[in-house]
Point group: C2
Protein backbone atom coordinates (compact mmCIF):
# COMPACT_ATOMS: atom_id res chain seq x y z
CA UNK A 1 0.00 0.00 0.00
CA UNK A 2 1.21 3.53 -0.75
CA UNK A 3 1.69 5.91 2.15
CA UNK A 4 1.30 9.65 1.55
CA UNK A 5 2.93 12.19 3.85
CA UNK A 6 1.00 15.40 3.37
CA UNK A 7 -0.47 18.61 4.77
CA UNK A 8 -4.20 19.05 4.18
CA UNK A 9 -4.12 22.63 2.85
CA UNK A 10 -1.37 21.93 0.33
CA UNK A 11 -2.29 22.04 -3.34
CA UNK A 12 0.87 20.05 -4.08
CA UNK A 13 -0.44 17.35 -1.76
CA UNK A 14 -3.92 17.60 -3.27
CA UNK A 15 -2.49 16.77 -6.71
CA UNK A 16 -1.32 13.42 -5.38
CA UNK A 17 -4.51 12.74 -3.37
CA UNK A 18 -6.58 13.44 -6.49
CA UNK A 19 -4.57 11.13 -8.75
CA UNK A 20 -4.33 8.34 -6.15
CA UNK A 21 -8.12 8.49 -5.81
CA UNK A 22 -8.79 8.59 -9.55
CA UNK A 23 -6.47 5.61 -9.99
CA UNK A 24 -8.43 3.73 -7.34
CA UNK A 25 -5.55 3.35 -4.89
CA UNK A 26 -6.34 2.93 -1.21
CA UNK A 27 -3.45 4.47 0.71
CA UNK A 28 -2.20 5.27 4.17
CA UNK A 29 -2.27 8.96 5.01
CA UNK A 30 -0.23 10.99 7.50
CA UNK A 31 -0.46 14.72 8.00
CA UNK A 32 2.42 16.93 9.09
CA UNK A 33 1.67 20.44 10.27
CA UNK A 34 4.29 22.35 8.33
CA UNK A 35 3.19 25.59 10.03
CA UNK A 36 4.44 24.04 13.28
CA UNK A 37 7.73 22.82 11.78
CA UNK A 38 6.70 19.17 11.46
CA UNK A 39 8.49 18.78 8.10
CA UNK A 40 11.83 19.78 9.60
CA UNK A 41 12.13 17.12 12.28
CA UNK A 42 14.97 14.62 12.06
CA UNK A 43 12.49 11.86 11.19
CA UNK A 44 10.90 13.82 8.37
CA UNK A 45 14.22 14.91 6.89
CA UNK A 46 15.10 11.22 6.64
CA UNK A 47 12.36 10.79 4.04
CA UNK A 48 12.85 14.19 2.37
CA UNK A 49 16.02 16.17 3.13
CA UNK A 50 14.32 19.15 1.49
CA UNK A 51 11.76 19.25 4.34
CA UNK A 52 8.66 19.44 2.16
CA UNK A 53 5.47 17.50 1.66
CA UNK A 54 4.15 15.63 -0.26
CA UNK A 55 6.29 12.52 0.05
CA UNK A 56 5.02 9.22 -1.32
CA UNK A 57 6.29 6.02 0.28
CA UNK A 58 6.01 3.04 -2.05
CA UNK A 59 4.84 -0.40 -0.88
CA UNK A 60 8.56 -1.35 -0.92
CA UNK A 61 9.32 1.52 1.50
CA UNK A 62 11.07 3.86 -0.93
CA UNK A 63 10.44 7.62 -0.64
CA UNK A 64 9.66 9.95 -3.55
CA UNK A 65 9.27 13.71 -3.21
CA UNK A 66 8.30 16.56 -5.61
CA UNK A 67 4.57 16.49 -6.32
CA UNK A 68 4.92 16.50 -10.10
CA UNK A 69 7.50 13.69 -10.06
CA UNK A 70 5.04 11.70 -7.94
CA UNK A 71 2.27 12.37 -10.51
CA UNK A 72 4.51 11.09 -13.33
CA UNK A 73 5.48 7.99 -11.34
CA UNK A 74 1.89 7.09 -10.47
CA UNK A 75 0.48 7.96 -13.90
CA UNK A 76 3.00 6.00 -15.97
CA UNK A 77 1.21 3.32 -17.97
CA UNK A 78 -2.25 4.77 -17.24
CA UNK A 79 -4.57 7.08 -19.21
CA UNK A 80 -3.39 10.01 -17.07
CA UNK A 81 0.02 10.09 -18.83
CA UNK A 82 0.04 10.02 -22.65
CA UNK A 83 2.03 7.33 -24.47
CA UNK A 84 2.95 9.46 -27.46
CA UNK A 85 6.44 10.97 -27.12
CA UNK A 86 5.41 14.49 -28.17
CA UNK A 87 2.37 14.49 -25.87
CA UNK A 88 4.60 13.29 -23.03
CA UNK A 89 7.01 16.14 -23.77
CA UNK A 90 4.15 18.64 -23.64
CA UNK A 91 2.89 17.13 -20.39
CA UNK A 92 6.31 17.60 -18.82
CA UNK A 93 6.56 21.12 -20.28
CA UNK A 94 3.38 22.10 -18.44
CA UNK A 95 4.47 20.34 -15.23
CA UNK A 96 7.78 22.22 -15.16
CA UNK A 97 6.02 25.45 -16.12
CA UNK A 98 3.61 24.93 -13.22
CA UNK A 99 6.43 24.61 -10.71
CA UNK A 100 8.51 27.54 -12.01
CA UNK A 101 6.03 30.02 -13.47
CA UNK A 102 2.74 29.37 -11.64
CA UNK A 103 3.23 27.86 -8.18
CA UNK A 104 5.76 30.43 -6.86
CA UNK A 105 3.28 33.21 -7.62
CA UNK A 106 -0.21 31.82 -7.11
CA UNK A 107 0.40 29.11 -4.50
CA UNK A 108 2.87 31.18 -2.52
CA UNK A 109 0.48 34.16 -2.46
CA UNK A 110 -2.29 31.84 -1.28
CA UNK A 111 -0.02 30.48 1.45
CA UNK A 112 0.72 33.97 2.76
CA UNK A 113 -2.90 35.17 2.51
CA UNK A 114 -4.70 32.01 3.52
CA UNK A 115 -2.43 30.33 6.06
CA UNK A 116 -0.33 33.20 7.46
CA UNK A 117 -1.02 36.79 8.47
CA UNK A 118 -1.08 38.60 5.11
CA UNK A 119 -0.13 41.94 6.67
CA UNK A 120 3.32 40.41 7.27
CA UNK A 121 3.72 39.78 3.55
CA UNK A 122 2.30 42.90 1.89
CA UNK A 123 5.45 43.72 -0.11
CA UNK A 124 6.07 40.12 -1.10
CA UNK A 125 2.47 39.70 -2.23
CA UNK A 126 2.79 42.77 -4.46
CA UNK A 127 6.05 41.35 -5.83
CA UNK A 128 4.42 38.04 -6.80
CA UNK A 129 1.32 39.55 -8.39
CA UNK A 130 2.58 40.18 -11.96
CA UNK A 131 3.90 36.61 -12.27
CA UNK A 132 0.55 35.21 -11.17
CA UNK A 133 -1.39 37.36 -13.64
CA UNK A 134 0.99 36.32 -16.42
CA UNK A 135 0.51 32.64 -15.59
CA UNK A 136 -3.30 32.94 -15.63
CA UNK A 137 -3.18 34.75 -19.00
CA UNK A 138 -1.02 32.00 -20.51
CA UNK A 139 -3.43 29.35 -19.22
CA UNK A 140 -6.51 31.20 -20.43
CA UNK A 141 -5.01 31.74 -23.90
CA UNK A 142 -4.10 28.06 -24.16
CA UNK A 143 -7.57 27.00 -23.02
CA UNK A 144 -9.19 29.27 -25.62
CA UNK A 145 -7.87 26.77 -28.19
CA UNK A 146 -8.04 23.46 -26.28
CA UNK A 147 -10.36 21.75 -23.81
CA UNK A 148 -7.44 20.37 -21.77
CA UNK A 149 -3.71 21.13 -21.57
CA UNK A 150 -2.38 18.17 -23.55
CA UNK A 151 -3.74 15.56 -25.95
CA UNK A 152 -7.33 16.87 -25.88
CA UNK A 153 -8.05 14.94 -22.72
CA UNK A 154 -7.63 15.01 -18.96
CA UNK A 155 -4.05 14.16 -17.92
CA UNK A 156 -1.68 14.87 -15.03
CA UNK A 157 -1.00 18.26 -16.68
CA UNK A 158 -4.59 19.21 -15.77
CA UNK A 159 -4.27 17.75 -12.28
CA UNK A 160 -1.05 19.69 -11.63
CA UNK A 161 -2.53 22.96 -12.87
CA UNK A 162 -5.94 22.54 -11.28
CA UNK A 163 -4.52 22.15 -7.77
CA UNK A 164 -3.58 25.79 -7.18
CA UNK A 165 -5.59 27.45 -9.96
CA UNK A 166 -8.97 26.51 -8.50
CA UNK A 167 -8.00 28.17 -5.21
CA UNK A 168 -6.25 31.15 -6.83
CA UNK A 169 -8.89 33.41 -5.25
CA UNK A 170 -7.47 32.52 -1.83
CA UNK A 171 -4.24 34.14 -3.02
CA UNK A 172 -6.00 37.24 -4.26
CA UNK A 173 -6.23 36.17 -7.89
CA UNK A 174 -9.83 36.42 -9.07
CA UNK A 175 -10.64 34.21 -12.05
CA UNK A 176 -13.52 36.41 -13.24
CA UNK A 177 -11.52 37.68 -16.22
CA UNK A 178 -10.46 34.20 -17.34
CA UNK A 179 -13.57 32.50 -18.77
CA UNK A 180 -11.60 29.73 -20.45
CA UNK A 181 -10.02 28.81 -17.14
CA UNK A 182 -13.44 28.82 -15.45
CA UNK A 183 -14.84 26.46 -18.08
CA UNK A 184 -11.82 24.16 -17.81
CA UNK A 185 -12.18 24.05 -13.99
CA UNK A 186 -15.71 22.77 -14.57
CA UNK A 187 -14.47 20.10 -16.98
CA UNK A 188 -11.88 18.96 -14.45
CA UNK A 189 -14.52 18.74 -11.71
CA UNK A 190 -16.64 16.54 -13.98
CA UNK A 191 -13.94 13.88 -14.32
CA UNK A 192 -14.73 10.47 -12.87
CA UNK A 193 -13.56 10.08 -9.29
CA UNK A 194 -12.95 13.79 -8.72
CA UNK A 195 -12.43 14.81 -5.09
CA UNK A 196 -12.08 18.31 -3.66
CA UNK A 197 -9.05 19.67 -1.82
CA UNK A 198 -11.04 19.17 1.41
CA UNK A 199 -11.81 15.48 0.82
CA UNK A 200 -9.19 13.77 2.96
CA UNK A 201 -8.69 10.07 3.55
CA UNK A 202 -8.73 8.80 7.12
CA UNK A 203 -5.34 9.13 8.82
CA UNK B 1 17.47 19.05 -37.80
CA UNK B 2 16.72 20.46 -34.36
CA UNK B 3 16.78 24.23 -33.88
CA UNK B 4 17.64 25.66 -30.47
CA UNK B 5 16.56 29.16 -29.47
CA UNK B 6 18.87 30.20 -26.67
CA UNK B 7 20.88 32.87 -24.87
CA UNK B 8 24.58 32.09 -24.45
CA UNK B 9 24.89 32.89 -20.73
CA UNK B 10 21.89 30.79 -19.74
CA UNK B 11 22.53 27.66 -17.72
CA UNK B 12 19.09 26.41 -18.75
CA UNK B 13 20.17 26.75 -22.37
CA UNK B 14 23.54 25.14 -21.61
CA UNK B 15 21.75 22.02 -20.31
CA UNK B 16 20.23 21.52 -23.75
CA UNK B 17 23.44 22.38 -25.66
CA UNK B 18 25.34 19.87 -23.54
CA UNK B 19 22.86 17.04 -24.09
CA UNK B 20 22.43 17.76 -27.82
CA UNK B 21 26.23 17.59 -28.19
CA UNK B 22 26.63 14.43 -26.11
CA UNK B 23 23.87 12.80 -28.17
CA UNK B 24 25.76 13.74 -31.34
CA UNK B 25 23.04 15.98 -32.75
CA UNK B 26 24.03 18.73 -35.16
CA UNK B 27 21.54 21.56 -34.71
CA UNK B 28 20.68 25.04 -35.82
CA UNK B 29 21.33 27.70 -33.20
CA UNK B 30 19.78 31.13 -32.69
CA UNK B 31 20.58 33.50 -29.88
CA UNK B 32 18.11 35.98 -28.39
CA UNK B 33 19.44 38.73 -26.15
CA UNK B 34 16.98 38.49 -23.31
CA UNK B 35 18.62 41.47 -21.61
CA UNK B 36 17.41 43.55 -24.58
CA UNK B 37 13.88 42.10 -24.53
CA UNK B 38 14.38 39.75 -27.49
CA UNK B 39 12.32 36.98 -25.85
CA UNK B 40 9.27 39.23 -25.58
CA UNK B 41 8.80 40.09 -29.24
CA UNK B 42 5.64 38.98 -31.01
CA UNK B 43 7.64 36.41 -33.03
CA UNK B 44 9.27 34.90 -29.96
CA UNK B 45 6.01 34.71 -27.99
CA UNK B 46 4.61 32.65 -30.87
CA UNK B 47 7.09 29.86 -30.02
CA UNK B 48 6.93 30.36 -26.25
CA UNK B 49 4.13 32.48 -24.76
CA UNK B 50 6.11 32.45 -21.50
CA UNK B 51 8.87 34.54 -23.16
CA UNK B 52 11.78 32.39 -22.05
CA UNK B 53 14.63 30.51 -23.65
CA UNK B 54 15.53 27.72 -24.26
CA UNK B 55 13.01 26.62 -26.87
CA UNK B 56 13.68 23.54 -28.97
CA UNK B 57 12.10 23.35 -32.42
CA UNK B 58 11.80 19.79 -33.68
CA UNK B 59 12.57 18.78 -37.27
CA UNK B 60 8.76 18.77 -37.76
CA UNK B 61 8.58 22.41 -36.63
CA UNK B 62 7.00 21.87 -33.21
CA UNK B 63 8.16 24.03 -30.28
CA UNK B 64 9.04 22.72 -26.82
CA UNK B 65 9.98 24.95 -23.88
CA UNK B 66 11.15 24.31 -20.29
CA UNK B 67 14.77 23.16 -20.23
CA UNK B 68 14.14 20.06 -18.14
CA UNK B 69 11.21 18.95 -20.33
CA UNK B 70 13.52 19.32 -23.32
CA UNK B 71 16.15 17.17 -21.57
CA UNK B 72 13.54 14.43 -20.94
CA UNK B 73 12.31 14.58 -24.54
CA UNK B 74 15.79 14.32 -26.04
CA UNK B 75 17.06 11.73 -23.56
CA UNK B 76 14.14 9.31 -23.88
CA UNK B 77 15.38 5.96 -25.16
CA UNK B 78 19.06 6.87 -24.61
CA UNK B 79 21.51 6.13 -21.80
CA UNK B 80 20.91 9.64 -20.42
CA UNK B 81 17.44 8.69 -19.13
CA UNK B 82 17.11 5.46 -17.11
CA UNK B 83 14.64 2.78 -18.22
CA UNK B 84 13.80 1.53 -14.74
CA UNK B 85 10.59 3.10 -13.40
CA UNK B 86 12.01 3.95 -9.98
CA UNK B 87 15.18 5.46 -11.45
CA UNK B 88 13.02 7.50 -13.83
CA UNK B 89 10.99 8.73 -10.86
CA UNK B 90 14.17 9.78 -9.05
CA UNK B 91 15.46 11.52 -12.18
CA UNK B 92 12.24 13.55 -12.37
CA UNK B 93 12.39 14.24 -8.63
CA UNK B 94 15.81 15.86 -9.06
CA UNK B 95 14.73 17.75 -12.18
CA UNK B 96 11.72 19.27 -10.39
CA UNK B 97 13.86 19.94 -7.31
CA UNK B 98 16.38 21.75 -9.50
CA UNK B 99 13.73 24.07 -10.92
CA UNK B 100 11.99 24.82 -7.61
CA UNK B 101 14.66 24.57 -4.92
CA UNK B 102 17.96 25.30 -6.70
CA UNK B 103 17.54 27.47 -9.82
CA UNK B 104 15.49 30.27 -8.19
CA UNK B 105 18.26 30.77 -5.64
CA UNK B 106 21.56 29.98 -7.34
CA UNK B 107 20.78 30.81 -10.99
CA UNK B 108 18.77 33.90 -10.13
CA UNK B 109 21.54 35.20 -7.85
CA UNK B 110 24.04 34.57 -10.66
CA UNK B 111 21.82 36.45 -13.10
CA UNK B 112 21.67 39.50 -10.83
CA UNK B 113 25.39 39.43 -9.97
CA UNK B 114 26.82 38.35 -13.30
CA UNK B 115 24.52 39.88 -15.91
CA UNK B 116 22.94 42.86 -14.11
CA UNK B 117 24.20 45.53 -11.73
CA UNK B 118 24.26 43.65 -8.40
CA UNK B 119 23.91 46.87 -6.38
CA UNK B 120 20.33 47.05 -7.70
CA UNK B 121 19.58 43.65 -6.18
CA UNK B 122 21.30 43.72 -2.80
CA UNK B 123 18.14 42.92 -0.78
CA UNK B 124 16.95 40.27 -3.20
CA UNK B 125 20.37 38.61 -3.21
CA UNK B 126 20.32 38.42 0.60
CA UNK B 127 16.80 36.97 0.40
CA UNK B 128 17.88 34.18 -1.96
CA UNK B 129 21.04 33.22 -0.08
CA UNK B 130 19.60 30.75 2.50
CA UNK B 131 17.78 28.78 -0.22
CA UNK B 132 20.98 28.49 -2.25
CA UNK B 133 23.00 27.30 0.74
CA UNK B 134 20.29 24.76 1.57
CA UNK B 135 20.33 23.43 -1.99
CA UNK B 136 24.12 23.03 -2.02
CA UNK B 137 24.01 21.20 1.34
CA UNK B 138 21.37 18.78 0.02
CA UNK B 139 23.48 18.10 -3.09
CA UNK B 140 26.69 17.65 -1.11
CA UNK B 141 25.03 15.25 1.33
CA UNK B 142 23.59 13.20 -1.53
CA UNK B 143 26.96 13.11 -3.30
CA UNK B 144 28.68 11.91 -0.11
CA UNK B 145 26.83 8.64 -0.70
CA UNK B 146 26.67 8.44 -4.51
CA UNK B 147 28.91 9.27 -7.46
CA UNK B 148 26.00 10.65 -9.50
CA UNK B 149 22.44 11.74 -8.70
CA UNK B 150 20.57 8.71 -9.99
CA UNK B 151 21.35 5.12 -10.96
CA UNK B 152 25.09 5.38 -10.18
CA UNK B 153 25.77 6.89 -13.57
CA UNK B 154 25.66 10.13 -15.53
CA UNK B 155 22.07 11.04 -16.52
CA UNK B 156 20.07 14.16 -17.31
CA UNK B 157 19.73 14.68 -13.55
CA UNK B 158 23.47 15.44 -13.51
CA UNK B 159 23.22 17.64 -16.61
CA UNK B 160 20.35 19.65 -15.10
CA UNK B 161 22.17 20.14 -11.79
CA UNK B 162 25.62 20.77 -13.28
CA UNK B 163 24.41 23.70 -15.39
CA UNK B 164 24.05 26.26 -12.61
CA UNK B 165 26.04 24.53 -9.86
CA UNK B 166 29.37 24.77 -11.70
CA UNK B 167 28.89 28.55 -12.03
CA UNK B 168 27.45 29.02 -8.52
CA UNK B 169 30.48 31.18 -7.71
CA UNK B 170 29.21 33.76 -10.20
CA UNK B 171 26.15 34.06 -7.95
CA UNK B 172 28.25 34.45 -4.81
CA UNK B 173 28.06 30.80 -3.75
CA UNK B 174 31.56 29.46 -3.18
CA UNK B 175 31.82 25.68 -3.47
CA UNK B 176 34.89 25.45 -1.20
CA UNK B 177 32.87 23.92 1.62
CA UNK B 178 31.26 21.29 -0.58
CA UNK B 179 33.98 18.75 -1.46
CA UNK B 180 31.52 16.15 -2.71
CA UNK B 181 30.08 18.64 -5.16
CA UNK B 182 33.58 19.59 -6.34
CA UNK B 183 34.43 15.93 -6.98
CA UNK B 184 31.16 15.37 -8.82
CA UNK B 185 31.77 18.44 -11.02
CA UNK B 186 35.05 16.80 -12.05
CA UNK B 187 33.27 13.54 -12.87
CA UNK B 188 30.74 15.41 -15.00
CA UNK B 189 33.53 17.21 -16.88
CA UNK B 190 35.13 13.85 -17.64
CA UNK B 191 32.07 12.54 -19.47
CA UNK B 192 32.48 11.84 -23.17
CA UNK B 193 31.53 14.78 -25.36
CA UNK B 194 31.51 17.32 -22.51
CA UNK B 195 31.42 20.96 -23.58
CA UNK B 196 31.67 24.06 -21.41
CA UNK B 197 29.00 26.73 -21.05
CA UNK B 198 31.14 28.90 -23.37
CA UNK B 199 31.34 26.35 -26.20
CA UNK B 200 28.67 27.58 -28.57
CA UNK B 201 27.71 26.21 -31.97
CA UNK B 202 27.82 28.52 -34.96
CA UNK B 203 24.65 30.59 -35.34
Amino acid sequence: MYHLHDFASSGNGYKVRLLLTQLGHVYRYTQHNLLAGATHTRDFLEINPNGKIPVLITPEGKALSESNAILCFLAEGTAFMPDDSWERAQTLQWLFWEQYSHEPFIATSRFWMHLCDPTDFRDKLADRRPGGLKALKIMDDHLSRAAFFVADRYTIADIALYAYTHVAGEGGFSLDDYPNIENWLQRVRQQQGHITINDLPKS
